[in-house]
């Protein structure tokens, strides 16, 4: 009887401890310093374009418009938009330093979300969504009680040494749960995405030029086996993250793989801010014990500590020099006002559209009439060869995809010719023609490739009917030659089964 009562109670107790156990929020403090810094990198770049992206003198396109809700948010005049934008940047810097932390987040976070929602085309992305969540959670968290200007000022004012404050961990847990949800949701998306597990989707992304340069990604895009394996590994990790990250040893796998995954998105996909946002949020998974252990492991920690503490100490000393009758909120507001006015002046000096400069406004670039007319009046359909991404020959297939490229074959081997198609395409009749060195046709095989197909394979048994030598595998679509690959046949003809069918497809 007692065990049946203690079961639910024990569960409630463990849930309670999960959210309300107390520790010093070093991890949260790291998130407070790193995440707004990462989130502000793209926002600082956009500071030069506030007038164009977020004001009535530009072309903001609100997120709500994309969902058919019209313009829900107010759009400010250029000067006011610049002032408010400057205020947001200052509030975030102030939050990083932990000076009036709660107030800074209360002002900076809504403004960050506002400006992101105001420009759904050039500002709002999923990394801004993740940053918005974490910023909101930081706003309600006690992230400023350690490693902050506020904490330094408090300590100097009260003269208290002693151990740092301990607070319930629920706000860290919320960030952790957010990431578990993100990965679980992302896995569901991938499972629902057609052609994810055959690697085509990953390939299309890697050869898209929508993000920053990713030469390694372009190289990996041509390696189907890497795409296939990494696709499965990613989904398995994303699904298992929530079940392992709160386990003693599981967290090393969940967070270690996650860190590697996010770092690799830079060279493979050309992402820059997304990995920074995610990696900085990972600090929320660091417990007090983890941070203390890491501190002990850090070589030359005294020097590092001094270096990291320097901006906080300097800011605290500067603040302490203010006249004693000026309260801290007033000081914060005064500095914010100076920054806002500076931003306004900056916008004026910038003369973004070049209206006040010499010869302003700037002229439009003229186009050659021939080029313009060709673009406007073009009715040329896509070339037959452009419907095909690639054509290769090899001998090994994994998940339907050819995973090796081979040019030398021996009797008895199965040659597999495979073409990858670009969608959308119509239903196609695709042929593979085997020619000898003098372009005499030896075999022809063909098949319908329907509109939803992303690849088609043509197996060809290399039997004793062929003589040793060089041959060509020619790909044709709608009777048009698309591509050809040369291969050589060698070895002992006796190895080939004489009863092999000519074409095995």
């Amino acid at each position: 009887m007692s065990s049946s009562e203690s079961g639910p109670r024990a569960m409630i107790r463990s849930v309670h401890d999960f959210f309300f156990a107390e520790e010093t929020p070093y991890g949260l403090a790291l998130v407070r310093m790193l995440l707004p810094t990462a989130a502000m990198i793209p926002m600082v770049i956009r500071f030069f374009h506030v007038r164009e992206l977020y004001s009535t003198d530009g072309t903001p396109q609100q997120l709500t418009e994309a969902f058919g809700h019209g313009q829900v948010l107010p759009v400010l005049s250029p000067l006011l938009a610049t002032v408010v934008y400057g205020l947001m940047l200052f509030a975030m810097l102030s939050a990083v330093l932990g000076f009036r932390t709660r107030m800074s987040f209360l002002i900076g976070t809504p403004l960050y979300i506002y400006f992101n929602m105001l420009d759904a085309v050039g500002t709002m992305t999923k990394y801004s969504v993740i940053a918005s969540h974490v910023l909101l959670l930081l706003t309600i968290s006690p992230c400023g009680v350690v490693w902050s200007v506020d904490a330094l000022l408090q300590r100097r004012r009260t003269g208290a040494g002693g151990p740092p404050l301990r607070v319930p961990v629920w706000s860290s847990r919320m960030i952790q749960i957010l990431f578990a949800a993100i990965y679980f949701g992302a896995a569901i998306t991938k499972v629902q995405t057609k052609a994810f597990f055959t690697g085509e989707q990953m390939r299309y992304w890697m050869v898209s030029n929508w993000n920053y340069p990713n030469f390694i990604g372009e190289y990996v895009a041509m390696l189907p086996v890497v795409l296939l394996v990494s696709g499965y590994l990613t989904v398995v990790w994303e699904l298992s993250f929530a079940f392992l990250v709160w386990r003693r040893w599981g967290r090393f796998y969940a967070l270690g793989f996650g860190a590697m995954f996010h770092i690799l998105t830079n060279p493979l996909l050309g992402l820059r801010v997304f990995p920074l946002i995610c990696l900085s949020s990972y600090c929320a998974f660091l417990s007090e014990r983890d941070v203390l252990a890491l501190r002990r492991l850090l070589p030359g920690r005294r020097q590092w500590r001094g270096l990291v503490r320097a901006p906080f100490l300097m800011t605290a000393r500067l603040i302490e020099r203010r006249p004693s009758n000026i309260p801290l909120p007033l000081l914060w507001s005064a500095v914010a006002a100076v920054v806002a006015v500076g931003a306004m002046e900056w916008d004026y000096q910038l003369d973004h559209y070049g209206i006040r400069g010499n010869g302003g406004p700037l002229p439009l670039q003229k186009m050659e009439s021939v080029v313009a007319r060709r673009m406007i009046n073009s009715t040329t359909p896509i070339r037959e060869r452009d419907k095909f991404f690639s054509f290769n020959i090899g001998s090994r297939v994994m998940a339907g995809q050819l995973v090796n490229r081979n040019r030398e074959f021996e009797y008895g081997e199965l040659l597999i010719a495979q073409c990858n198609l670009n969608t959308p395409h119509e239903d196609l009749w695709v042929e593979c023609v085997v020619e000898d060195d003098e372009q005499r046709v030896l075999d022809v095989t063909g098949k319908f490739v329907t509109r939803e197909q992303l690849y088609a394979s043509f197996p060809y048994a290399l039997n004793s009917r062929l003589l040793p030598g060089n041959y060509w595998m020619v790909l044709k679509s709608s009777g048009v030659e698309i591509s050809r690959r040369q291969f050589s046949l060698g070895g002992d003809p006796a190895q080939a089964c004489p009863t092999d069918s000519l074409m095995t497809n």
Binding site: H49, Q201, M222, S390
Partner: protein, 218 residues
Amino acid sequence: MNIRKWAVSVLLMSYLGFLGWGIVGHALKIPAAGSALGYFVVWDMFCGWQAYDNRLHLIAEDSNGEYYRIREPWGAFQPFGHEDRLDYDVSNFLAPRHIQHVLEHSEHPPVDRVYVVQEVWGKQYNIPDVLWQKYYDEPKDKVSCFSLRAICTPDGAPIESNPDWFVAQELKSIADNPRLRQQAQSAMPYYNTFFSPLSANGSQMSAQTGGSPVLNTN
């Protein structure tokens, strides 16, 4: 538990519910999750990529038949790489505003009309030359397809619009089937405004409710 803990518990439950709504809504394709609020809890970072790359060109024509490229002369903003902001506008909501905005802030003769042209090419041509030489035997011969997406007035209002190239390709791929084409030609879909069960039942309803019969406004 004290009030503070209760408040935190309510907050936690609400937040978990919000996150859960996004995941379930997205997994089951519930339309409510496809809203601006849903965007904050739907994790579709990898939701599919096209096999063809595409860019949008805005070409202004003046009364003398001269053509101008409508691109910010003060420098186009490139938000996430080396492509202009306009090229990230998948919904095409931005193009009309962009036309009006650039024309208003630049020097040019009076513009008669603006052509919105979509350029499309296979993504295999994005591969660097060194990789092309390694993986392709054919010379790299990129040829773009151009498709007139719309014709607009200088204030961005559309005079004529055509389907997006990708949509057009999909429609063409289906219409390419002669049997479907014949059936579509012989079919005659229409909406019946001559008769509806409600209007046929109107007099009966009117007698029951004592009101006037319902008018069919089709």
